[in-house]
Symmetry: C2
Subunit: 296 residues, 2 copies
């Protein structure tokens, strides 16, 4: 299989696992669950779950991936999109080519859908049957890494500083701070979680962490570039919205060309780090390239 086929296979596996995990028994909650499902199944690329699975398979190509852990990342990522799109936050009407959650279900339901997805992630992560391979100590470690990446010193904090910085002149330090936390932290954690699910050695864990940080940075720079260069139709969300909100972005700070070369550098460094895995890292290398060249 070529890269695209392998990616699509993993993505399909994630879709099926998510479908199964979202079968919740309570009829009264139909509307609430519908709101969660609406954003969860809105055509996401499933980058974080795929990264989690791929990181495990880079350590051990024959491993059965821990889909419950992989899917927890999609729940956290989706909650963050729902809350970020709210009128009080980025006030976005479109996401992946569809009306945002609050546009369809109202603000109250959107806030609760986000809260429900975030909390569900931790229910999934603490499932005692998640995998017979993971020791409880490691499962706890995994939960802690994810909570830290998603929380105030990670993603939530990145969004808080991003909101504070709208319309302000910010330093490069602050730009890096926002990017590494708002997007980078959860991407890195997804790779780290995959490493832990495969009982990674210290060296393997360190290498994959560094890989995650580099591709996380590139991912956000590319996001910034697409927001400048893409059309609303291509992106499925409002193009040019960053400039409109005077958001802190790489292109706003460095211009388009320098931003692009910084993304290239990060991806090149990410691939170099994978050398210790030899041929087992083919997919992660290609995934790094995909992050650089993606069109949405």
């Amino acid at each position: 299989m070529n890269f695209k086929e392998t990616y699509d296979q993993k993505r399909t596996d994630v879709e099926h696992a998510l479908e199964k995990l979202m079968l919740r028994p309570d009829g009264r909650l139909a509307d609430h669950i519908k709101a969660m499902r609406y954003s969860l199944f809105a055509g996401g690329k499933r980058v974080r779950p795929v990264l989690c699975i791929a990181a495990s398979q880079t350590i051990d190509p024959a491993i059965e991936p821990v889909m419950t852990v992989a899917c927890a990342f999609e729940c956290i990522h989706t909650y963050s999109l729902i809350h970020d799109d709210l009128p009080a936050m980025d006030n976005d009407d479109l996401r992946r080519g569809k009306p945002t959650n609050h546009k369809v279900f109202g603000e109250a339901e959107a806030i609760l859908a986000g809260d429900g997805l975030l909390t569900y992630a931790f229910e999934l992560l603490s499932d005692p049957h998640v995998s017979s391979r993971i020791f409880p100590e490691n499962q706890l470690r995994l939960i802690r890494i994810i909570a830290q990446a998603a929380g105030s010193l990670g993603m939530v904090g990145g969004q808080a500083i991003d909101m504070d910085s709208e319309g302000k002149e910010i330093s490069f330090d602050t730009l890096q701070y926002i990017h590494s936390r708002k997007t980078g932290a959860l991407i890195t954690a997804s790779v780290q979680a995959g490493a832990i699910c495969a009982n990674a050695s210290k060296d393997q864990f360190a290498a994959l962490t560094c890989y995650g940080e580099k591709i996380g940075l590139a991912f956000q720079i590319v996001d910034d570039l697409l927001n400048v260069e893409g059309t609303t139709e291509q992106l499925g969300k409002s193009a040019g919205s960053d400039a409109e909100l005077e958001k802190a972005t790489y292109p706003a700070y460095f211009g388009v060309e320098t931003s692009r070369s910084k993304a290239h550098e990060a991806i090149s460094a990410a691939k170099d780090i994978l050398d210790i895995f030899g041929g087992n890292a083919v997919f992660l290398r290609e995934l790094a390239d995909y992050i650089l060249t993606r069109k949405k």
Copy 2:
């Protein structure tokens, strides 16, 4: 020490532990952390952490309570208040006699303060140094119980159905559904968590679970009664707001007298269940009475 002194001692211990846990190192996040602290230290009664500690001590009076776990409940409870008060939800301006979080910090910051507190709870709960006494398996079990109680099939779901039910005729079933999830689930979980922290036997765990369910019900009925009978000054939040929003409440369904006797019944049943703990349950019995007679 009498009940009030014992309660206040435990509450003070919780305040100190929370203060220590909220010392976060990041200067950039000053505003975000200020928003979290504002609601976390707004004079809450700390019922859930005290219940968690007291449940442990009912099993083993000499036990060192696991403050990190107890404090996680206050983080989750506080997040739920911040989000419930938002304009899109209950639109409350006052909470514990002070302006609500979004009134002081704005809606975006309030949403993020809630998200940060919820996520922080799971960071605390997965702390590997939480207690040498808790086996990792039990710590995972504890996380799962709390995530389930706080999530879509628990507190978040209760709030979702409560929002849906505003202004509608609802059945007693639905009223029970809302109460047991919106308030009852997290109160029960706090007692269960305390039981797990003390390595409870199956029987002890079952008895404390049942106790938690009964006092959780009484707690919510009393809340409903206070909303009808209390003044805004007494409550520190808007009195009569339930009726204004046509909320599903016990007094709206049964009238004040029947509601009061139902709360009495629940508390009496809760105390009976504690018989298996003999003299070790004195504090939990008195706490049940306090829940019935509290004025705010």
